[in-house]
């Protein structure tokens, strides 16, 4: 199918403004500045049905509409912290098509009447940050950023801020705290960022991919956008396919594409053609699905109905022969390591989960540990200060639901009984 989000990826020197311009870049920005009021842009995005691609899938236009009337300054923050295991789509955009990201930020900033925007780039993404900074300089030189852009009277500056290696800073309020120069702790909500965000001013936070959709919607229109995907999940999505597949990578597909199509047609099937054992369909915090769910369409509603979530669209494939206990233990270790430590459920609960899982994997488990794991999950989900608690319980609960036998085997035999004992380090 045609590529939109990835249309420039693979074109030589695609990160330079000349290439971007030669392929129609910044035309949407010009159109907005010359012919649209901010509210018209908000309405356009609202009617396109675009939903946040950072994980929660919240309707973007509606989010913009939450900014309180008459309160200035306002800020736009682009969440480029992409740290969720399995997720690697934003990086492709930033490295290969930084101007598309900038154009999306510019139009969105205009829509919410912000004059300063920040891109919070994951610390490890050195090339992304360099490319964005170079692109910002080019855009300034071409008059697409700065004062009185294209003679419109509108001013905008974009600042790249590099993270320092904490996954939790991808959570929007932690990101804001970090951006303010503090330790990146999530904040209590309410107040929500839209009313009291960065420096306690109204702030809109959007994911890189979300913002990259905006110039396309301006260019082709809301109807075009809605013509793809499903009714409630319109449009296109980047899927980051990883795990035990032959061709892992980032694929652009309309929402609603069946999971099987992504894995088999685009990913070339599993390694050694082993049967699929489990699929994590939306980044590491999405509950696991099984082979029985392979025909589920990849859209927000269908995946939710199957008991998981589309999240960031990172699909992790786990083939038969892999020990689920090992997978979950590794994931929870990651969360324990990345947890900020502010709240008790997060700090102590996740650490305890990790230690129980380690014990089970090492053959020291007890059957009652499985109930204990679930009870700790109950103590975490919906109760931690930030949504990390909910992220953590996804893999634990779903694996206990679908793969309890893997746990019991470890507990009863004291060792891993998977034919292909893949230990995940």
């Amino acid at each position: 199918m045609d590529k939109f989000l990835l249309r420039n990826v693979g074109v030589p020197d695609s990160h330079h403004i000349e290439v971007y311009l030669s392929r129609g870049g910044y035309e949407s920005w010009r159109r907005v500045l010359t012919s649209m009021q901010p509210q018209a842009v908000v309405d356009l995005v609202k009617s396109s049905g675009l939903r946040g691609r950072g994980g929660a899938g919240f309707p973007t236009g509606m989010k913009w509409g939450f900014v309180p009337q008459g309160v200035y300054p306002r800020y736009l923050v682009c969440n480029a912290d992409e740290g969720e295991p399995g997720t690697c789509k934003d990086r492709v955009l930033m490295e290969n098509d930084p101007h598309l990201v900038l154009e999306g930020i510019a139009i969105s900033s205009y829509a919410i009447e912000a004059h300063l925007a920040f891109i919070y780039v994951r610390g490890e993404f050195t090339l992304s940050a360099e490319r964005l900074e170079a692109a910002i300089a080019e855009a300034h030189a071409h008059g697409f950023l700065g004062k009185n852009i294209l003679g419109s009277g509108y001013d905008l500056d974009i600042v790249v801020h590099r993270g320092a290696g904490a996954y939790i800073c991808g959570e929007e309020t932690a990101l804001l705290t970090s951006l303010e120069g503090e330790r990146g702790n999530p904040r209590l909500k309410p107040p929500f960022p839209a009313t009291e965000g960065l420096y306690r001013k109204p702030t809109v936070i959007n994911n890189v991919e979300t913002l990259a959709n905006v110039p396309l919607i301006v260019q082709y229109g809301a109807e075009w956008y809605k013509s793809m995907g499903t009714e409630k999940s319109p449009g296109i999505k980047l899927f980051a396919l990883s795990g035990q597949v032959k061709r892992p990578g980032v694929y652009e597909l309309p929402l609603g594409t069946p999971l099987r199509t992504l894995i088999e047609e685009y990913g070339g099937g599993t390694l050694e053609n082993r049967p699929v054992k489990a699929v994590i369909p939306g980044g590491s915090s999405a509950p696991m699905l099984t082979a029985a769910h392979l025909d589920t369409p990849l859209d927000y509603e269908s995946i939710a109905a199957a008991g998981s979530m589309l999240g960031s669209g990172a699909v992790i494939v786990i083939a038969e022969g892999t020990c689920i206990v090992s997978v979950v233990r590794r994931l929870i270790e990651f969360y324990a390591h990345e947890d900020c430590g502010q709240c008790i459920p997060g700090r102590e609960g996740i650490a305890w989960l990790a230690r129980i899982l380690e014990r089970i994997e090492a053959g020291q488990g007890r059957e009652e540990d499985l109930d204990l794991l679930l009870d700790i999950c109950d103590g975490l989900s919906g109760r931690s200060l930030c949504p990390l608690g909910d992220a953590v319980v996804g893999p634990v609960r779903s694996s206990l639901k679908h793969f309890r036998d893997d746990y019991l085997a470890h507990i009863r035999t004291g060792q891993c009984v998977q034919p292909v004992a893949v230990t995940i380090a």
Partner: protein, 841 residues
Amino acid sequence: MDQSVTLKIDGRDVTVPAGTTVLEAARMAGIEIPSLCNHARLLPAGLCRLCLVEIEKVRGLQPACASIVREGMVVHTDTPAVQHNRRMVLELLCTNHPLDCPVCDAAGDCRLQDYVFRYGRTTSRFVEEKRRKGKAIRLGPAVILDQERCVLCQRCVRFCEEVLDDRQLAVFQRGASSRISTMPGAVFDSRFSGNVVDLCPVGALTDRTFRFKARNWELTGLPSVCALCPVGCRMTEEGREGRLLRVRGREAPEVNDGWLCDLGRTGYGFTEHPNRLRHPLVRRDGHLEPASWDEALTALARGFGAVIEKAGPRAVAVLGSPRLTNETAYLLTRLARALGTGNVDYRLGTAAPAPAQATLSDLRQAEVILLFQGDPSEEAPILELWVKQAVKRGGRLYIVHPRTLALERYATGAYRPRPGSEAVLIAGILSMLEQGKPGSLPLEWREAVSGLGPTQVASLTGCDREAIRLLAEALVGSPRAIIAYGAGLRDEQTLALVAALAKATGARLLGWDGGPNSRGVADMGLLPDRLPGRAPLADAAATAALERLWQAPLSCQPGLSATELWPEMRRGEVRALYVAGADPVTQAPNPQLVEEALAHATFVAMQEAFLTPTAERFAHVVLPAAVPGEEDGSLTNLAGGVGWQRALIAPLGEARPSWRIVADVAKALAAPGAWEYADAAQVLAEIAQAIPAYAGVEVVTTGGYFDARYEYEYALTDQPPAAPAPARVAGTGDLALTTGPVLFDRDIMARHAPGVVGRAAEAFAAIHPEDAERLGITDGAPIEVRGLFGALTLKARVSGACAQGTVFVPEELSELSVNRLGAQPGVVVMVEVKPLAVRPD
């Protein structure tokens, strides 16, 4: 008026003011919601998640501490999910908690213990090994941290951030490895550090001097007030078996709002100091020797009796101190006047404070604050917090002070008039007001300031003319302006001008000096020209009322002030002296004169807790006095609030409460009137009769608290302010001496407390870098400072905070008396400063 909101909690209708949190609303309704991280005086943080409740129509459990009530809200605090959450949070906390309650200071007063008992599981499902973190980490001089006991509620961190605005503590590392610490290599040495111990809901933070001393349930406590500085913080004394072991802050929004400075918190260690006087001493053959009370009082009666017989009552003088309680000061006044002498005073180089027109709550909400010649951080520490709070709320701070204060970073304007020209600056502002709006000053004031044009003021003070104008504008422009003057203002003339400025601008006055109870002692009439209540001696009605109350004729002759006293004593006109709580040899501005005078005295009696240099060399009789913690008594703080200080423990040895000693002396001297009092409260009841302004003050014991504030109105001075001239200059050196209290060295008793020792800097003199360079002085090197009556050897502190051309020497230095240098009100003393060769040891 605030609106109120009605909500339902557990089926009960609860009406609370708008803006209340659900947690607070439940508490008001008598419903307990357990909470760990929340604290009434800190912002909600929502960290511990123990307080989660169900709120109808809101998804998931919500933190009660951070949820604001809404009309019609329906809250459930006892659902299975809420209970599960509490059990879970507590179980999670216990997983890695050492559970070493048997040796934990907090046991018995620990939220974790209480909540696990009430809401927790009885068994643990945790079988892994507990995580290890740091134990017994000395964060600073006052506070020790056990990271394993810490529940990471961050109350300590939030205190540093929100109250101190000084992030001395923070969370380091993350997730389960998170721990509280100081910045690497830094020390938690805030003046207010001990407050985090009170805030810590568990036993993670302990008080260095209290830890391992007692179990909480063995302690008895009494609400009291701190007697170590003019703020008079409301506190609780706690102890066991006759020992005062700890003091903690007590809620009192109008005073300290629960906070204490570390001097107050750790200063009471003096009760157990080995040098305390345990029995009366009587001088025999030139030596002070232990004696019984009877012997001492007999000797005293004989000594004073002989002088009165030979030279009349006016040959007797009484010298009190701003450290006395109101009861002691009142009885001293009464004793002097009953004996027939007006030679009573307590001021050694200070002025009696002017009436307090502002409360401390006013200060916290002030729009404009002029801080004149005072350093709250050293002199009245809690005020540092309140000034910061005012600025945080948008208030503007102006500072007039010879040094750069810690608070200067909060100031809109800072003025450093040449030493001795401070009064000129104030008069200059008055003159500016008159020029700006002719007729705005009373006629008789105009003269005082008429000669001072802006140019002249600028050149006399060295302050920028425009900056002075901005200050004048700020004072006039705000209905909530406060002029706060401090211990650096020592002379009546400047005080009169400051009071005039307050009156002219509508600003309210708040002031203090170095003494903790100066205001109360002055109110009690311990002044040569005033009656109790500060009525002038000529006030016939006041005199008659007092005579009736005291059942004695009283001497209304103006007496000698503590400045006039010494020459008269040297001349033999004054022959007997009774000193209570003062040490003139180290405190009076002219020690040479004082020593000569005392050497001429026929009889000197003193009541004291320690053997002071004056007592050691000159007293014939020394009576051992109780110290705060051992005696009841009231103290009037800088804002006119009266607090009741309580005796938690009995006086050491044979020491007696100070007020009782005065009564015993009066009886021994057969002073006219009745001197039988059952207790200090009875004396206070009499004070309430004697002084109209104290009429409402009584010992209220409802709930064990005693707090009262009284308002009084009296003429500061009957004279219009005098035209100021730059102060007289004395001494031959080339640096002007400035002095003032430093917190941990300011109290002659508290500096001996184990928790205080080591916190005051080694005796130092601060000098500007350029002066230091010119004089060949390096930071930390020994220097000699030579003043009017001798020289001190001090350690140089080269600091830009000290104005060029001045040298700062702390007022009270543990072992040295700065009065050798001759600092005195209204005089600029020029001292000589030179480096001392370091002797090779």
